[in-house]
Each structure stands twice: as structure tokens, then as C-alpha cells.
Amino acid sequence: MFFGMPLTGQTVSFFLLALLIIASGVMLMTLTKVMHMAVALAGVFLGVAGIFILLGADFVGMAQILVYAGAITILMVFALMLTQKGDDTESPEASTGRSLLTLLGVVVFTGIMLLVLRGTTWPYSQSAVDPYTQPTVVLIAQSLYHTYTIPFELLSLILTAALVGSVVIARKED
């Protein structure tokens, strides 16, 4: 037992993932080199993917790794490599008044979050480990291609139009 929680693989990996997310988040804010921040951001994305998988949403977790930790991070690194020149360290420390205000904001935010989280009754099931009756891939596919076919197709049409449009606009420049 660990603070009233059973010490299972789930709780241990939750705390490890939470540690990873928080540590990467803090590093993201404190590191000075932009390239280091990109790696820290990948850490945050991976941790969030782990949380998704722990919650039983394995498809979303994998898509998170594929799209965010894989593609988006590489895209950012690529853009940084192509554009960056010379020194990229940031401006010096903020003033004392600003730091105090930030601290106040953080305290108030934490207080409100704690109040709301404690005051909510969460849905809770006894057999909590695998809440879905079918593989999540099947469930997602059914809702995408059966229940919400038309909104899904419209969305993909809009996205394709946006993609083609951006290419056309980028071509016009040169």
C-alpha cells in the first residue's frame, strides 16, 4: 500500500509517467537552448501517450507518439536547424515583482484546481483495468465510419482544401 493506493504496475507506472511529464515540462520552461527544449517537449508528449495507454486508450496513445513525439518534434527541430543563427539564449531574469505575481497566480490556480477536483464525484467502476468491451481501434473506427461518417468526410475535405490552399499560397511567393 502506498498512501492508501494498491501498489500495482498501474500505480507505479502512473507515478513514473507523471514524474516524466512534470520533469520534462519544467525542463521545457527552464532550459535556454531551443533545441534542448524540443527534446524536453518530446518527453512531455511521450509521458502523455503513456497516460493515454494507462487509461485504456491505446490507439490514441500510439497516435500521440506517432504524430506528436515523432512528427511534430522532428518538424520543429527541422525548422530550428534551417532558421537558427548564432546565439539562441534567452533574455535575462524577470523582476521580483513579476516573480511574486507569478507565484501568486500559481498558488491560486493550484487552490482552485484542488477545490474542483476534490469536489467532483468521479465515475468509478469496479473492474477498472479494461473498461472497453471491444478493442479501442474497433470502437473508434465504428464511430468514425458509421456514426459520424459525414462530419468526418467533411472535415477531411476541409483539411485537404487547407493543404492545397497553403501550397498554392506558398507557390505564389516565388
Binding site: 504496475g9 527534446v39 490507439f59 513525439a69
Partner: protein, 330 residues
């Protein structure tokens, strides 16, 4: 089935997990050692040479000696390199290559296999993380050849990841699952047999895209030694260099095992035990990769991207449409 999430975490359970990981790691190291030996022998044979034959009987200990040499070499960090990222990059590159092995069904009894419902997606998602390690290595080395190699590598691997993902969609459509274990079981009952027959277009696209993902000849532009010295790992030495080589060869094994699982029926086969069938099929694909390396010239840089976007992706999309139409009719 054993559920690690619900079982209380006792020291013995943890020890069991650790032992499992160490066993797989040792197995992988052994496989990689003899993969390198096999590659050198095969290429030597195709080029009319003998290949390694000095260390041990038939040169069997050559790779062991090479690895030992790499491990005891000095670990040099260039003075102007970005130290933290330079040290971290080989780890980022290697860890995913080892993690993808978790979902591959080696035998009929799944001793080491995670029976994951999104197994195929897991493989593709994690293997994309290695690109980050490679780009970081190229950038952190603070060397123009490394940087060029890293950028070429990122562009190439991201471009070829799309045809790789699209080419396996046909298999997923036929099997109706992303679970690699289920895909193997479906191939036993499918009316065409192994998916290499109904999915021959997908298989060809998969093999080409896999060669590009592995940065191997004819797609080895990121490490073209005649123009880039060695690409993204020019500045690396000792065991960090060994890590890059290790992850490259683990991927050779992993992608061959994945191709076996998806297209060649996995561990299924008559008479022989399942693990032996799996080993035979995987070795055949690995031999094919080495064969291509020994016989093909390197692709030209300007052809590389247009080949991925204008040839491979349309062909893979056509395969998806064709598979869908055929499964609607039949």
C-alpha cells in the same frame, strides 16, 4: 493472460520482468553480432572475396572482437559539441529499436510477445522516434557533415514512413486487426494463404520503404561515406558509435521480423517447430536486404524524394483502394 496492470507489484514480479528484458537483450545482441558476420560473409561472397576468416573458426568471432574493440576505445566528445544532447542522442536512437521487438510474435506460444491490440501501430510509432535521435546526433556534433547527414536522414525517414504505413494498410484490411498475433492467425485461414500473394503490391512497397527507413543501400544517402564522411555519426567513437550501429542492425532484424509476420505467415509452417520457421523466413528477408546492398548502386539525391512522393505513395494508395474493392466483391 497475465495482466501487469492489476497484479500487485511484488519484488518477485519485478525480478521476473527484469530477467525477461535481460534475456531478450542478450538474444538481440547475439543476433546482431551474427547478423554483421552474415552480412560481411554474404557481401564478400557476392563480390568474389572471402570475408572475415581470421578470428576464431571460419571467422565466427570477428564481430565479437570488433564489438570488444569498440567498447574499450576512448569515448571522445568534441570540444564544441553540445555535450548533453551528444551524450543522449545514441540512447534516443537505440531505445525504440529495442522496444519495437516487444510486439513481434516469434513463436506460436508467445513467450516474449506483448499481445497488443495496436501492435502494428506501436511498431510504426516507436520506430519514428529513432529519427529524433539521429537528427539530434547530427546537430549536437556541431560538424557540417554530421548536420547534413542528420537532415538528409530526417527528411528521408519521414518521407518513407508514409509509404511504409500505407503499404501495411492492405494487410490490416484483410486481417481486420492491428494485432500482429491476430494477423498471423488470419493468414493461416485466409483463402489465398500468406498475405504476400493477395498483397504483393503492398509487399513490394513495404520492402522498398523498409530499405529507405533502414538507411541502407540503395537509400544510404544519410551516411554516404564518399560525400559525407559517415553522416550523422561522424564524430562518434567507442561505445556510442557502437550504439548507433547496434540500433541500425536491430532495426534490420526487426523490420525483417515484421515483414515475416505481415506477409509470410509469421511462425506458421509444417513439420518444423514454429520458432525455426520464423527464423528461416526472417533470415530469408535479411538475406534479401544484404543481397540488395551488394548489388545496387546508391540512389541520386534528387530522385529520392520524388520517388517516395510520386511513385511509392500513389502505388500504396492504389493498393489500399484495390484491396478494399476486392474485399467488397469477394
Amino acid at each position: 493472460m497475465f495482466s501487469w496492470q492489476a497484479t500487485p507489484l511484488r519484488p518477485l514480479t519485478l525480478l521476473g520482468m527484469l530477467i525477461g528484458v535481460v534475456v531478450v537483450l542478450a538474444l538481440v545482441l547475439g543476433i546482431v553480432t551474427y547478423l554483421i558476420y552474415f552480412e560481411r560473409k554474404v557481401i564478400g561472397w557476392m563480390q568474389g572475396r572471402i570475408g572475415p576468416n581470421r578470428v576464431g573458426p571460419l571467422g565466427l568471432l570477428q564481430s565479437v572482437a570488433d564489438v570488444l574493440k569498440l567498447l574499450i576505445k576512448e569515448d571522445i566528445i568534441p570540444a564544441n559539441a553540445d555535450r548533453a544532447l551528444f551524450l543522449l542522442a545514441p540512447v534516443i536512437a537505440f531505445v525504440p529499436s529495442f522496444m519495437v521487438l516487444a510486439v513481434i510474435p516469434y513463436t506460436a506460444s508467445h513467450i516474449f510477445t506483448a499481445n497488443l491490440n495496436v501492435g502494428l501501430l506501436y511498431y510504426i510509432a516507436l520506430s519514428s522516434l529513432t529519427i529524433l535521435g539521429i537528427v539530434m546526433a547530427g546537430w549536437a556534433s556541431n560538424n557540417k557533415y554530421s548536420l547534413l547527414g542528420g537532415m538528409r536522414s530526417a527528411a528521408q525517414m519521414i518521407s518513407y514512413e508514409i509509404p511504409l504505413g500505407l503499404s501495411v494498410l492492405g494487410v490490416v484490411m484483410l486481417a481486420g486487426s492491428l494485432n500482429l498475433v491476430t494477423i498471423v492467425q488470419h493468414q493461416a485461414t485466409d483463402r489465398f494463404g500468406w498475405y504476400i500473394i493477395p498483397q504483393i503490391i503492398g509487399f513490394v512497397v513495404f520492402m522498398i520503404a523498409a530499405l529507405a527507413e533502414l538507411n541502407r543501400t540503395p537509400f544510404d544517402l544519410p551516411e554516404a561515406e564518399s560525400e559525407l564522411v559517415a553522416g550523422y555519426f561522424t564524430e562518434y567513437s567507442g561505445f556510442r558509435f557502437a550504439f548507433f550501429m547496434l540500433s541500425e542492425y536491430v532495426y534490420v532484424f526487426a523490420i525483417s521480423a515484421l515483414a515475416t509476420t505481415l506477409f509470410l505467415g509469421g511462425w506458421a509452417g509444417p513439420f518444423l517447430p514454429s520458432w525455426l520457421w520464423f527464423a528461416i523466413k526472417t533470415s530469408a528477408i535479411i538475406f534479401f536486404l544484404f543481397w540488395v546492398r551488394a548489388t545496387m548502386p546508391r540512389m541520386r539525391g534528387d530522385q529520392l524524394m520524388s520517388f517516395a512522393w510520386k511513385v511509392l505513395i500513389p502505388v500504396a494508395l492504389f493498393n489500399v483502394v484495390l484491396t478494399g474493392a476486392l474485399s467488397l466483391i469477394g
